[in-house]
Symmetry: C2
Subunit: 321 residues, 2 copies
């Protein structure tokens, strides 16, 4: 067990709402089609830069406490290519001199950052790490691809990680992640890098939009999640019966419902997908922060946190809240 | 001290060389101007994707050992926006199922990845982490900006991190990093994100190129490096006299020479800038792998590793090889 504690959380939802009814004509499908395929009734649309969203969520997570001694940006949609977005988030928060960087694992960026941060806390490297995920990805939706375009929404969420005080039970019990490159092309934004550079002669506007083959991911994930969870349960001696709350990446309505197939009943599954959609890396911390804000999480509760990410990656962890 | 050991390293330089004489007419300056301003006599130009460069360096670092149990891509120039490049590097290496992700802190990406990996090793989370940095950034040079355009080169380098075996002295003694957002605009690639998206109506080709104000960075860095190193020496009780090798980010010829100002003589400074230029995140591991390949590093040697990165970030660590 890694003795790191999520001491506080925060989230920010931009005020502008786009409902399924409003999105329907833009993607050539009906409201009913969107609701039945994705379960996303509405999503937020950012009208401000991601660093401002990030700072709003981070301020809530930092509360009135001291500044963090490390800032990790864990977002898939950066503000710009260089410097990494942590710099701009730090600037917008009004800090300077705090070591900061970014972790990118698409929808699992927060998950990876949390577990990296926990080890940095355990080794005494840092004492108060701010992790923040802010996604302003809705402009990258391909409206000609209704299935993926109707999934995404914008949001920001943050968490502060500190050493677990003596006598408390909070910590990371174990985590289990696998990345399967055979699924790389199931979730893709082909542009934005050296393969199809923004100024490249062979780069088309479609390269600079987000593409996802949801049904194929669902099938691949179904087969892999069972194995991932079995490994986690075997290593820890815990089981799905022990879980108090499932903090799942809200990939889609169907993905969240899938939790029942691996033994987590709906009443233990925090489900916000209808109101937020898939908010990429902000999704997992948004679920966590929402559950925390609603007073659902009690210290000592066992959380199962994780889901899928572009890669295809599958990751779950067992966390003592 | 974090008991993690860099067990092996590898590097790859693409075969195509661009000399200062060849670059001179492209940027409207003379060969002499390039040499006196940047100290970069030649640089490599990648003619293959970054994942292939990464895999070539990684295979050398992995030698005939077992596969890693974690892969961290630490590069500033991704192959594409999503998935993160670690997925493609894993695929090109012929692996599957290994947890992988990316860390981005521009020129300090390897530095941050190394220290994150060391903590993940120390907590027993992983036993053999591959870190790889591969940069194919030369197409992003702005040829209208001779000062920065004459600095960059392409390269890949990798390292494998494992727990320090009992009885050995290898480890991370301490590290010290600060990020100063007031320097954010000194090293910039404004495009490639949500601020100036590739398809955005306000995005210009110039947004999608790399810009750097080298003289201003040099001045800012001069003032900050002393403070960073003083902190590191105070905390550890070590001094510049104790350093066996300086593994410095090869930002420019002047940046490497600056080491003398903080007490490291040229014979202890690994200097490859004339032959490779600034290879962004690949720079630090390339220096490390070159020194290792040349047989310079002896187990027990004290390494000072670090430099500057976009942010502006300053980071140094003391490593017992």
């Amino acid at each position: 067990m890694i003795k790191a504690k999520i001491v506080s959380t925060g989230f920010y939802l931009p005020p502008k709402i786009q409902t399924a009814a409003e999105l329907a004509p833009l993607i050539g499908r009906s409201e009913k089609w969107i609701l039945s395929r994705t379960g996303v009734a509405e999503r937020r649309i950012a009208e401000e830069p991601m660093d401002e969203m990030a700072a709003k969520a981070a301020r809530k997570a930092l509360q009135n406490g001291p500044p963090p001694d490390c800032i990790i940006n864990a977002s898939a949609t950066p503000l710009q290519f260089i410097p990494d977005s942590s710099v701009f988030i730090q600037e917008t928060l009004g800090y300077k001199g705090i070591p900061s960087w970014s972790i990118h694992s698409t929808c699992l960026s927060f998950f990876v950052a949390l577990h990296s941060a926990a080890s940095l806390i355990e080794t005494g490297t840092f004492k108060r790490i701010l992790i923040v995920s802010a996604e302003a990805g809705t402009p990258f939706r391909d409206l000609d691809e209704p299935e993926s375009a109707s999934l995404f929404g914008d949001a920001a969420a943050a968490a502060v990680i500190e050493p677990t005080p003596p006598g408390e039970s909070s910590g990371i019990i174990d985590w289990n992640m696998q990345t399967w490159p055979e699924g790389a092309h199931l979730t893709e934004f082909p542009g934005g890098g050296t393969r199809f550079p923004p100024n490249g002669p062979d780069t088309t506007p479609k390269h600079n939009l987000f593409h996802m083959k949801g049904v194929k991911i669902y099938k691949m994930a179904r087969a892999l999640i069972d194995k991932n969870l079995s490994g986690l349960y075997q290593r820890t001696g815990l089981s799905s019966q022990d879980i108090d709350w499932l903090i799942l990446h809200q990939a889609s309505g169907k993905a969240v419902q899938m939790s029942q197939a691996y033994g987590i009943p709906p009443e233990k599954t925090i489900n916000i997908v209808a109101k937020t959609g898939n908010t990429i890396a902000a999704s997992i911390p948004l679920v966590l922060a929402t559950a925390n804000h609603e007073g659902k999480l009690k210290r000592g509760d066992l959380l199962l946190m994780g889901g899928t990410g572009a890669g295809l990656s599958i990751a779950f962890s067992l966390i003592r809240w």
